[in-house]
Subunit: 152 residues, 2 copies
DNA sequence: GATGAAACGTTGTGGTT
DNA sequence: AACCACAACGTTTCATC
């Protein structure tokens, strides 16, 4: 399943290039790093099979697709309400990221909205599951930064 | 710059497919939605030019690239320390996402680490900028969900 | 990994509605 | 303005070494 392959310097270069532009051709990548296209293709396939390369995703503007408002929402679930919440949250299109965390709250989410009415509706849906805290996102300082070779 | 183009039903289908697999060929996308490859290519180019399609990014496993620990870290900056922090944070490879937010804290970050020693080092770098709060991520409930057509 | 060849995809031109 | 058809060119993928 997850064969234990090593990420050498060339594979890190491939990962960096694909994180920057997932539609880059294997031929071009090969030219950048001194390999032929089939060699790049094989390395990519092995990293996909190993679970290192999880997928390729287009990034879409939130604001230009009608979601001008973003919030970080945490949930402190009531007794017995965490499991039902976890089932429910997968049905919410607004939730971009959702993590279970340690600490006073159980859940932190990154959520996008059309406007404050949409946000209000969303919070109303959560009140039966626990106490929420909402922080509006004012600006993006860093968005989906690429993973780099681990420090030595 | 940002021509005001409309995202019709076909463009939403293209956005959905590219969010799921950014390396999907225009020819295949065309077959799925009943368009020729050049027509898909033109629509994609227009959405790129309009700033709707921001880019294509490979998604890489955090754990299999040596980052077994993830945390949500918030910062309540000391007087005059927010601007210097914003400059500094861009130099941190560990920070995947960083947002400026409303509320008691000024900043929330999603950060990946090799281990708890690496986390400790990171927090030490922040203490001069403000008070931090750290929540360890136990599991991913939703990761980078695609944006869907806004609700009617 | 490289090479070479066949299949496939992309992209430009021209034409249709 | 959006799309299709066609063709030239580049890319992917498979075989073989």
């Amino acid at each position: 399943m997850e064969s234990n392959i090593k990420i050498d310097a060339l594979n890190w270069k491939i990962l960096n290039l694909l994180q920057q532009n997932a539609r880059e051709s294997f031929a071009n990548i090969g030219r950048s790093i001194g390999l032929t296209a089939p060699a790049v293709g094989e390395r990519v396939k092995k990293m996909e099979d190993a679970g290192i390369l999880l997928g390729y995703n287009a990034t879409v503007s939130h604001s230009l697709t009608g979601h001008q408002l973003k919030a970080i929402i945490t949930l402190r679930a009531f007794m017995g309400k965490l499991k039902p919440f976890l089932v429910l949250v997968s049905t919410f299109d607004e939730v971009i990221n959702c993590y279970r965390i340690t600490g006073n709250e159980n859940i932190v989410m990154e959520v996008v909205f059309k406007d404050q009415f949409h946000l209000e509706q969303f919070i109303d849906k959560l009140i039966q599951y626990g106490e929420t805290r909402t922080n509006i996102v004012l600006s993006n300082v860093i968005s989906n930064a690429p993973i780099r070779s681990e420090p030595a």
